[in-house]
Each structure stands twice: as structure tokens, then as C-alpha cells.
Symmetry: D2
Subunit: 245 residues, 4 copies
């Protein structure tokens, strides 16, 4: 593995998608900085990456806190120029409108939209003077469709998509690639497996073709990163071949 | 004018669109409750409506405050059953991403999205037991497009649209009509006139066909209200005939 | 009923939607010209309209034939100025891609898209010199979504929507209102009832709230016609309150 | 270069995009079959590919003729299993609606939509029994937006997109990847250069960042081909970094 003098920040480095993104870019020689609420939980990821010779740093990070986000990214950029910033914080909930409390609505927005704005803006602050960089946001089915019960979650995801669009239009001509990846499917995580089993029963897990492996999301981000600037994608959706849509 | 035993709440009853909505429904015999930040500014509207024999009440209301919103709508519903709730708070701003401060981003969201969620939820709380009602939200071009510089505004408007969609899907089958009206044009307000003059010069105001009269927005809401439940519209956009789109 | 010196052309005046549109505009005093493949089938409609004192003319018309369309609209316009032209030809079919024959694909396109282009263009030819008019197109769920098995039908409906959009953008500034009405539901016709019964059984017809009465579509067109030019809608969708979407 | 026992069909192998796609897949070891109206014009492409050791066959093909398309693809599949079929026929024209003749409207549709349906269906016929394959369609800005003057072109492109969507939904679960690539920019071809110069003057060509190199389109197709089936993209758009959108 040839090491690069460039860093990748993963904000929202959970056990599944975030971890796979971190591994993917680490394998390509980037120094990866992984941030999540409870940084101790990053230990297995850090060990796995170091085991294959990759460079990774795990950090506790409250992505909703502007000072923490700015400090985190500034640290990353001091290690080596920030080449890619991926915002991957999720907050999927479903409640009837009358049971959607103020607290839930606000918290989901802070995690899935506000934090994304902070990450995007602070990454821009570092990339703009240098005239290059990549800022990617993880979207979902709820980024395009406000389904029944998803007032809080889809509102935040719609909002994040707007942030990404506005940034892409402003920053594209300045050589910063902003993209929004829509995962139009359940990703194969412990949480999704549990939820599907609750709703549809154990049979719902029988068809592995309907759950997207987290590594495939990482592949999609890697594809976005490799695009020449003469043909950048702002938005693409991915789903498993067996998914109904 | 035949008075009806039914109320209409206008949340965000500014001098232009909100005032016209209030007048339109008052002329149709509804008791209208108009709420805006500074209730004293409602005096001319109240006088105008009373002059033609309509019923209207003006109230100071911080639409971002859940208790104020709940109390306001509860008051309305005590006067007579809440038949229509229209959320019309705007917050149009444009800043490059690096100049979009935390304060601006959060405030715009609180005004244009969070407050809409509160209004919609609290209206639902009153309408659902009765099994009827109408909840309408004012959208904009920025509800569908995140233009350069509009990270804050379009994020909030996208988010509001998602709230409306989720509510429409949940509440339609319960006989509550939720709709999202997209105004894809500048409305003829003092603020828009000033802004257009700044950007394009006085000539930009020469073509009256490109500014939408606030009363036309009120007409569109009246059309939505009149639809039979066998053919409800969730979303429609309106623009002046001369508008480029 | 006050008669107007203005005509309405309904191209695709079938027994359900088309007939209701014809009745609606006839009741408002327009002279209506109804065209359909087999003009003899218009007899009951003509009798019904004449019975309430309306003016209507039924014609045999192959909407796919440019000369017939031009002659039909020219005749209409000779009677009185063509004020509204509504294109309402349907052609819903569903086949797996391998069973979608050349003949089916081409015929569905000719009926649902090509004929719409002809109607729109020939109506424009009459309206443009006069600087006023309304051209409305009936859309469907398949105008926005290419579902499995709908290659032929949705291709034609997507294509018709593009024609309508291009015309709206060109003709709006010339005071011609072009609109596209999306019926996002099954309409209560003999054909739809039969199809639903085949697929889901008789129970599927038990819930009348899920089938849209054809008269409601006519109401929607009437609303579009009444809009002031300062706030025209290009596209709106309608669905029964109980519909899942 | 390792040769593969698999073929790629490029239908609409013009001098720019089509030629680059052919070269890209030939370099990856596929036997490429390039079809275009006048097969003789493929000679330079064939020579170029053979010069680097690639395998390519050029054929005259009227993509609007179902028998020719079926015969072409059948030939391809006899050489080696048809792995990828790319439909790339364009037909961009712009006319005011009254100057859009029957002939133009029909011809543009036959080239850009009907031919795409034929290509997709005949490719499916070969791929389905084998349970694998890739069918890609080239889209454009006009696939999503019916601009003024684009009734013919955007109608055909909307229609093609619907075909692609319907096929993707039907064939995805059968392990056939159907994708629609939207080129939201001018591609650097002789025709586009000429047109831009006519409209905006020579200066319009000064900024090379606004014209997409045909090879970048080929890269995007190559990315789509490489996606794992657990995360297929149906639709993605590409544009040069400097493009306004």
C-alpha cells in the first residue's frame, strides 16, 4: 500500500457504513480520521485498519457541536491536506405525527441535517483556499420521499439534500466535488435486521439480496471519488438488485 | 356574507400573502385568526376586514414556540372548530456557504421548518378527533431546488415539504387535507421589489407580469380548500404567466 | 345558463372523464366539441347535455391523424373562438418487456403522446394569433413513474408530459395557459373496476374512496381554467383522500 | 490486455461518445460491436481499436428497424455472450412548437425512444435466459426538463427514460442491470461546438471546463458496469465541474 499525503474525514463512523468507508479509503493509502459520538467504540475499527497497514485515527466527536467539528477537521487537515470529507450520521425514526415530540424532531434534525451543514461548511473552509476537495453526504430513500410517520427523519434528510445541492452549485466551479449518495434500501446492519424482523418476521431476513452490504456503500463513495472533474456526479442512488422501488 | 361556524388560522400573517389569505377566508364567512411575531402590525388588516363585515382576530405569536402555537390554535378552536390552518412563515436569505453562520442556519430552520412542524402537529391534534380539516403550507422555488447560496433557506424549505408530505400520507385517509403550495416566482412585496431593484436595477420592476400579486396566492389556497376529497391535490405550483422556469 | 361565444374542444371524449369534462364546460355556457374514435358513441352525452340546455357537438375523430385533428379544431374555432383544448386520450396497458410488441409500443405512443402533440400544436396555431387560450393534458401516475410492465404506457405518458412542459415554457409568456393534470389514482370507470376485480378480487371495489369519480377530474380542469394568469399552475396531481402514494 | 469471452454492443456509435465507449470496453478486453447508420464511418474507430490490440466489429445499422436490431444483437451474441448493451442514439433538435413538423416529431422519437425500446427489448431477449447482463441508456438534460422549443427532443428523451425505468424495475430482480446515465452538459463534439459558437459566439468555446470530453462519458459507463449487484445505480447524472445547473 502506497501511503498518500492526504486525509479523509468520516463523520459518523458507525460500525457499519462508516467503518467500511474508513477501511476502503485507508486501503487506498489515505490517513483516515474517524469520528463518532463515543470514540471508544472505534477501537475494533482502528485495530482492523492498522492490522492491514492502514493509517487511521479514531476520535470522539459530537457532530452537532460546531466547535468540535471545526476542531476535528482542523486537526485532520494539520495531519495532511483534507482530501475527502464524508458525512454519514443517521437518525432514522418513525412516529405518527402526534407522537413526534419536539425533542425528537429537533434532535433528528440536529444529527442528520444541522451536523451535515457544519461538516460541509467547515470542510469547505479548509478546501476552498486550496482549490480542491471532495465533500460527500449519505442520503436515504427518505431524502426524496416523506413517507407516513417520517416527518422528523425525512424532514432532516430533505434538508441535508438541500445543503448538499446548494454547496454543489456554489463549490463545483471552485473545483470541490460535492455529492449526495442516496441509499435506496436497507443496509445490512444490526439495527435494520432487528427492525425488519419485528415488522415482517424472520422470513424478511431470508433474502440477502435485499439488504445492502455496508462495503458496497463504500465502493460507491470510492467511485464518486475517482470521477474526473469533467464528469462529476452530484447525485446517484444505489439499491440491491432485488429491491422493489 | 353568511358567517360560518368555523375558523381559519393563518400562522405568519405578514403584510402581503398572509394578509390576503386572511381577507379571502374572512370574505367567505370564516372567523380568521391571524398570528404574527408582532401582533400590533395586524391592526390595519383587522380594520380592513372588519370594514367589510368580516370576523378576524389578530394575535402576537412566536411560531417557533411550541407552547404559544398550541395555545394559539387551542384558542382558535374554542371560538369555532378549526377548519383550515395555513402556515406561511418565510425566511428567505442568501449567503455563500462560508458566510452562512450557525445562527442564520438555525434561525431560518426554526422559522421556516420547525415552526411549520409545530403548526401542523398542533392543528392535527385538534382536527384528528373531529375527523376533518385542512392544513396548508406555503412553499417556494427553494422547496425543490437548492440554489447556490441557499443552503439555509432551501434546507428549511425542503424540510418543510417533507413534513407536509409525511403528514399528507398519514392524514389523508383520516379526512384531513394536507397540501403544499409552491410559489415559483417572486411575490409582489416591498421586500422583493427592493431586492430585485438592488440586483437588476429599476427596470426589473417594469414588467408587472413577473411579480405575483399576493391575492393570487390566496386564490390558490381557496381553490385547494374547495377541492372535493375524492380529488385532493397535495402539491401544485403557481407562477405568473410571464415567468421563466 | 348564459351562453358564451367561446368553444371547448375535448379530444378523447370517452364515457367517463371526457364526458364529465364536456358536461362541466357545457354547463358553464361553452359550446363543447367532443371528439372520439367512434363518434356514434357520443350520442348519449350529446342528449344529456342538450337536455340541460347546453351546446355540444359530437364528432368522430382519429386523434392520431394530423389532418383530422387540424380540421376538427378548425371547425371548432369557426363556431366560436377556441378557448380551451383538453387532450384526454388514454391507452393504459401493462406487459412484460418481452411481450411488449412493436405494434403495442407504437400504438400506445401514437394515442397517448403523438396525438397529444398534434392536438397541442394545432390548438396553438389557432390561439397564438389571438394571444389567449388554454391547453390542458391529462396525465397519470405513469407520467412520473415507469413501473414494471409499463414500458409502453409510461413511455408515452412521460413523452406527453415533456410536450406539455415545453409548450408551457414557450406559450406561457404569450398568454396561453398550458397545464398537465396528473391523476394519481384509478378513476371510476368500467375498465378500471374490471381490472381491479381481476387483480385483487371483488373486495377491491368495496372502498369507494379509492376510485376517483370522473366528475372530480372535470372539477380540477375547471379550477385550472379559472386561475388568474398571475398565478397559473403548470402541474398538479389529484388523488382520492384514501389513496396510498 | 486479457481478452474476455463476452461482447459489448454499442448502438449509436457516433464519432464522439459512442466511439469512446467502444474504445473503453475494447481496452478492457471485450469484443465490441459498434453499430451506426452508416457503417463505413466506423472505419477509423475500428483501425484505432485494432491498433491497440482490441477486438471490434463495425456494422451498418438502422436502429429504428426492429429486424435489423434483432439481427445485429443476435450476431453479437453468437460471437460471445452479450454482456453489455449501450444505447446511445441522439437526435437533439430545437424548434418552436408551430415549426415542429410531424416528420420531425416522429423521426426524433423513432431515433431517440423507439430505437431504445427495440435495443433494450432485444438485449433482454438474449440476456434473460442467461440470467445476467447490463443494459445502459444515454440520457440528457432534456430527459428531465422539457425546455422551450424541445417538445420533440425532450418528449423522446422522457420516453426513453420511462422505458429504462420500467425495464430496471422488471429486470433488476432477474440480475440484469439497467441504468440511465444523464449527461447534464454539452459534450465536446463538432456539432455542439458549432452550435455554441452560433448562439453565443466564439467565446463560448474558450472555457473548456464547460464541455464534457466524450471519454468521460465512457468512464461513467465503465463505473456503472463495475458496480456490484448489491448496490446498483439506476440513474446518475454527470456534468463538468464548471457547469451551471
Amino acid at each position: 500500500m502506497e501511503k498518500r499525503n492526504a486525509t479523509v474525514a468520516v463523520i459518523g463512523a458507525g460500525d457499519f457504513i462508516g467503518a467500511e468507508i474508513a477501511k476502503r479509503f485507508a486501503r487506498e493509502g489515505f490517513a483516515v480520521f474517524a469520528g463518532r459520538r463515543n470514540g471508544e467504540k472505534l477501537e475494533p475499527l482502528v485495530k482492523e485498519v492498522e492490522a492491514f497497514g492502514g493509517t487511521i485515527f479514531g476520535r470522539s466527536l459530537d457532530a452537532r457541536n460546531e466547535e468540535e467539528v471545526a476542531a476535528f477537521l482542523s486537526d485532520v487537515d494539520k495531519h495532511a491536506p483534507l482530501e475527502v470529507c464524508i458525512f454519514n450520521v443517521g437518525a432514522n425514526v418513525n412516529f405518527p405525527i402526534l407522537e413526534t415530540t419536539d425533542r425528537v424532531f429537533r434532535k433528528v434534525w440536529e444529527m442528520a441535517c444541522w451536523a451535515g451543514f457544519l461538516a460541509g461548511r467547515e470542510a469547505t473552509r479548509l478546501m476552498l483556499p486550496r482549490g480542491r476537495g471532495n465533500i460527500f453526504f449519505t442520503g436515504a430513500t427518505a431524502s426524496l420521499r416523506g413517507g407516513s410517520g417520517y416527518a422528523a427523519f425525512s424532514s432532516a434528510k430533505f434538508g441535508l439534500r438541500a445543503v448538499a445541492q446548494a454547496m454543489a452549485r456554489e463549490l463545483g466551479p471552485k473545483n470541490i466535488h460535492v455529492a449526495h449518495l442516496i441509499i435506496d434500501a436497507g443496509v445490512d446492519t444490526a439495527w435494520v435486521r432487528q427492525r425488519r424482523e419485528q415488522i415482517w418476521g424472520k422470513e424478511a431476513l431470508d433474502n440477502p439480496d435485499l439488504l445492502m452490504p455496508p462495503a458496497s456503500v463504500a465502493d460507491a463513495y470510492w467511485q464518486l471519488y475517482q470521477q474526473p472533474r469533467s464528469a462529476w456526479t452530484f447525485e446517484m442512488e444505489i439499491r440491491p438488485f432485488g429491491e422493489k422501488w
